[in-house]
């Protein structure tokens, strides 16, 4: 018979809780969200001694008030989900502060086991902890562990597996609140008369929370109390009486008492005292947070992050690409082949779908490197130092020190992804700054935008590539900062702000396991969220580009042209051996297929003379007649086939163009043209922009065609499609386009993540609308304004840069309001 145990892990941040979680559950973990909030819920499983244990990793919190989402989640879980046992992970080298949370857990009337984690660090620091004293003082089972080295694993698993056997009782510890005790007792008596409240939480705990004026506890009581007005009266009376007698609010008194008790218990349990010498972490901070060295080191860290993830990762991505296209080619082999004029819908849809998905899969190596490096920085404890150094700047723009990580992930210089960036925003405790960060992270340069810039810069600024890349890489941050400030002064004005009080954790050497786990977790989220959404949207966009399709008159027109070309071809080859071979459309398509195979084989030989010759011999042997038509440039059959091929390609292209013209998306592009023309975008550019919203990755290929950029990456003069109405594309066009792209939200996945992170459709729409409008304005300013002043693309670029910089400096210089949401109390 197997028993089931439902256990929860609770602990303060930096107590090594996740390490313990990984140690206990191994790979059997699942990540979800707590209902209705963006707080991550990790659940793991393990079996031990015929018990199945389900372990929930609660968010790390310093306390259990209702001020932050994490604390509310942790608290509600303990109260409502009725866990068999709560394992309280405590940083043994930081006993006193960690016990502050333990005190609050013990008040909630649930079985608690105390785990003194990082016992090795504590020993190194010179602490010696008496476990028996702790067990006696707190009345809870206490164990020690060293999660990083797996020490304590068996004991903890054993204890949790037997938690349901009744060996672990309710904690006997009772906090003594001194002069507040009579008030607690009186309230508790009133609460005993409330059956609904009594069933929901322990009455003593609720009495204490009500005296603390805890927002959620008060609303809980208000909702479920039979006699709320009576309860409220006596509550307010008790609070006022206590404050009058002791000149301190009950909330502060309660917290002070907890700290005093935590200190008394910690002192009793510590055999050796705090040594008082400068800790190693403090000495490292002396260098890493140094006035001069600190920022230099931080820049070096940024640089190596992007050098490794973007440049080296890019090389890795280039290695993966051929395999992806081979896979796609292989899969496409199973689809119905296109005929001479007939294009099966399913083939067109499936190719589009696969192209969209593989465009995203290409980025996985780069993301893996980026995520692993960031996990190292997190594990080491460097990220809070970055926040520490940058908070002053971020604060001036309505952001927060903790906005650093979202911006890095989003691509603060070049090469990130807004999806993990926006998700990382939950680490920003200040609501106003968090929203401002969520709304501005999509302006950073994601990897897909980066590829796009590289293409345009290479084609239109061939002599100033480095300068133009520098422009676009830095202009985004220069624009994002003042935008964030404007947002926080306007639409976000009413949202709450929070103080910047942050623990600077002890530096640790990262473990390979923890780093890889976290990198894999993030990659998995990327794959799940981005890929599914982008794939679904790709299908929608395909439909919007496909339907309603080409009208009958045009179809007939194309059909006639095709038949005429075919007749010409048949006439031209009449006297060649090829004529006997081409008797049906299938035969003709076989010739097309032969050519495709031959070219693929040649490409695989890639300039190797011997291999190339072997290919020739092989194909000649396979089918000498077809080979002649494909290879021998002087032969009649070659010339005729070549002409047919080109005509067919032209008709297909025109038909595709016609289809897009007619399509729903094409209509949208035309509707926007009267405005976008001031930015130098014709309707075709508009269509490409809108469709690129499914996944920015596809934009690079589309614009290459639209802007007439050849395979060599150079501008080849006005494109065949004359997208600018026959006018040549100028660097000024390119500058306007890059700026628009910089502001335009990267992709639909980002917008959906914004919805998830803000829990609001309004913010989602806003996150799409405001950057699109701003992007259009910026592009119009550059194209029309720059054109009117006769500026070149290069000059317009730096003029704009100067204006943006001036605006940023002005917004940063605007005075900040003094912290005012906290009236001086008591």
């Amino acid at each position: 018979m197997s028993t089931r145990v439902y256990a929860a892990l609770a602990g303060q941040p930096n107590s090594g809780k996740s390490t313990i979680f990984n140690m206990l559950t191994g790979a059997r973990q699942f990540v979800a969200n707590y209902p209705g909030v963006t707080v991550e819920k990790k659940v793991g499983y393990f079996s031990q001694d015929s018990a199945k244990v389900e372990l929930v990793d609660l968010p790390g919190t310093y306390s259990l008030t209702s001020y932050s989402m994490e604390e509310r989640v942790a608290r509600d879980f303990v109260l409502n989900d009725d866990p068999t046992v709560v394992l309280n992970v405590v940083d043994a080298s930081n006993l006193r502060r960690n016990l502050y949370l333990t005190m609050q857990l013990l008040e909630m009337d649930i079985p608690v086991v105390l785990d003194l984690n990082m016992i090795d660090v504590a020993k190194k620091k010179g602490y010696e902890i008496d476990k028996e004293v702790l067990e006696e003082e707190l009345g809870v089972k206490t164990v020690t562990s060293d999660g990083k080295r797996g020490v304590g694993r068996e004991e903890l698993r054993h204890i949790l597996a037997h938690a349901g056997d009744g060996q672990i009782g309710l904690p006997s510890f009772r906090m003594d609140y001194g002069p507040l005790e009579p008030a607690i007792g009186r309230l508790q008596n009133l609460l005993e008369l409330e059956p609904e409240l009594k069933s929901r939480c322990p009455t003593r705990w609720l009495a204490i929370k009500l005296l603390e004026d805890d927002e959620r506890a008060v609303s809980l009581a208000k909702e479920h109390a039979l006699q709320w007005s009576e309860l409220e009266n006596s509550l307010v009376g008790e609070r006022q009486a206590f404050e009058a007698d002791f000149t301190i609010r009950p909330a502060q008194h309660i917290a002070f008492r907890r700290h005093e008790t935590a200190e008394r218990v910690a002192k009793a349990a510590l055999k050796a005292k705090y040594p008082g010498r400068r800790s190693l972490t403090d000495r490292i901070d002396g260098v890493l947070c140094h006035r001069v060295a600190g920022p230099i080191i931080m820049c070096a860290v940024f640089y190596s992050l992007f050098e490794l993830a973007v440049s080296q990762g890019g090389r890795l991505a280039a290695m993966v690409t051929p395999y992806l296209s081979q896979a796609q080619f292989f899969l496409e082999g199973f689809l119905p082949a296109p005929g001479y004029m007939h294009e099966p819908l399913i083939t067109s849809l499936a190719s589009w779908f696969m192209t969209s998905v593989s465009a995203l899969l290409v980025y996985i190596p780069q993301f893996f490197i980026l995520f692993a490096l960031i996990a190292i920085l997190e594990d080491v404890g460097y990220l809070p130092r970055m926040a520490f150094m940058l908070d002053r700047i971020f604060k001036r723009f309505g952001l927060h020190g903790n906005s650093t990580l979202p911006f890095i992930l989003g691509g603060i210089y070049v090469g990130g992804c807004a999806v993990p960036g926006v998700m990382a925003c939950r680490a920003v405790p200040d609501e106003r700054a968090r929203l401002a960060t969520i709304l501005t992270v999509p302006l950073m340069n994601c990897l897909a935008k980066t590829a796009f810039y590289i293409m345009l810069v290479g084609a239109f600024f061939p002599n100033n590539q480095a300068g133009a890349m520098f422009f676009i890489s830095t202009i985004t941050l220069i624009m994002a900062l003042p935008i964030a400030r404007v947002l926080s002064l306007t639409v976000l004005k009413t949202h709450e702000t929070a103080p910047f009080i942050m623990e600077m954790p002890t530096y640790h050497l990262p473990t390979v396991r923890a780093v890889l786990t976290r990198a894999f977790e993030r990659i998995w989220v990327y794959i799940k969220k981005v890929l599914t959404i982008v794939a679904a949207v790709a299908v929608v966009i395909w439909a919007l580009l496909q339907f309603p399709g080409v009208d009958q008159a045009k179809t007939d027109h194309f059909q006639q042209q095709a038949q005429a070309a075919l007749a010409k071809f048949e006439k031209a080859i009449a006297k060649t051996p090829l004529a006997k071979r081409i008797n049906s459309e299938d035969d003709l398509m076989a010739l097309f297929a032969f050519r495709a195979d031959y070219r693929a084989a040649k490409a695989a030989a890639a300039g190797d003379r011997a291999a190339s010759k072997a290919v020739n011999t092989r194909f000649k042997a396979m089918d000498p007649v077809f080979f002649e038509a494909v290879k021998n440039r002087r032969s009649k059959s070659y010339k005729a086939f070549n002409k047919l091929r080109k005509t067919r390609a032209r008709i297909w292209r025109e038909r595709q163009g016609e289809r897009i013209n007619n399509s729903i998306l094409g209509k949208m592009g035309m509707v926007l043209e009267p405005i976008s023309q001031f930015a130098g975008f014709d309707w075709r550019v508009n269509v490409a922009m809108i469709s690129s919203f499914a996944a920015r990755e596809s934009a690079t290929a589309t614009f290459k065609v639209l802007y007439g950029i050849g395979n060599d990456g150079k501008y080849a003069g006005p494109a065949m499609g004359d997208s600018a109405g026959g006018k040549p594309i100028t660097p000024l066009n390119a500058t306007a386009l890059m700026l628009f792209m910089a502001l335009f939200p990267p992709c639909l996945a980002t917008i959906i993540i914004v919805r998830v992170a803000t829990q609001s459709y309004r913010w989602m729409l806003f996150a799409f609308a405001y950057p699109s409008i701003l992007g259009m304005l910026a592009a119009c300013l550059v194209y029309t304004g720059g054109g009117a002043l006769g500026l070149s693309g290069w000059e317009a670029m730096w003029t704009y840069y100067g204006l943006a910089l001036a605006f940023a400096v002005f917004m940063g210089w605007l005075p900040l309001k003094r912290y005012s949401s906290n009236p001086k109390g008591a």
């Binding site: 001020y67 080298s93 910047f500 009080i501 942050m502 600077m504 009236p823």
Partner: protein
């Protein structure tokens, strides 16, 4: 009556003892949760490269906070 000394007034290198917390709400709670309560001793270590925030050590761990917010912590220099 002279103005009370707050944590904001202490420069890096000085130690002190918390006398009272004059903040309520979120700020007051965060200060409490990270271990500020009457009687606790601390040492101001350093300012950030741009002067704000600053880092302090109490009971073996390090905390960073902004000067303005530190103005709500009444202290006695040691």
């Amino acid at each position: 009556m002279s103005r009370k000394i707050t944590l904001e007034d202490l420069s890096p290198g000085t130690s002190g003892k918390v006398l009272a917390l004059n903040a309520t709400g979120d700020l007051g709670q965060r200060l409490l949760d990270l271990g500020f309560y009457p009687g606790v001793e601390f040492r101001v270590i350093r300012n950030a490269p741009l002067n704000d925030p600053f880092e302090l050590e109490m009971m073996g761990y390090l905390i960073s906070l902004r000067h303005k917010e530190a103005g709500f912590v009444e202290v006695q220099p040691l």
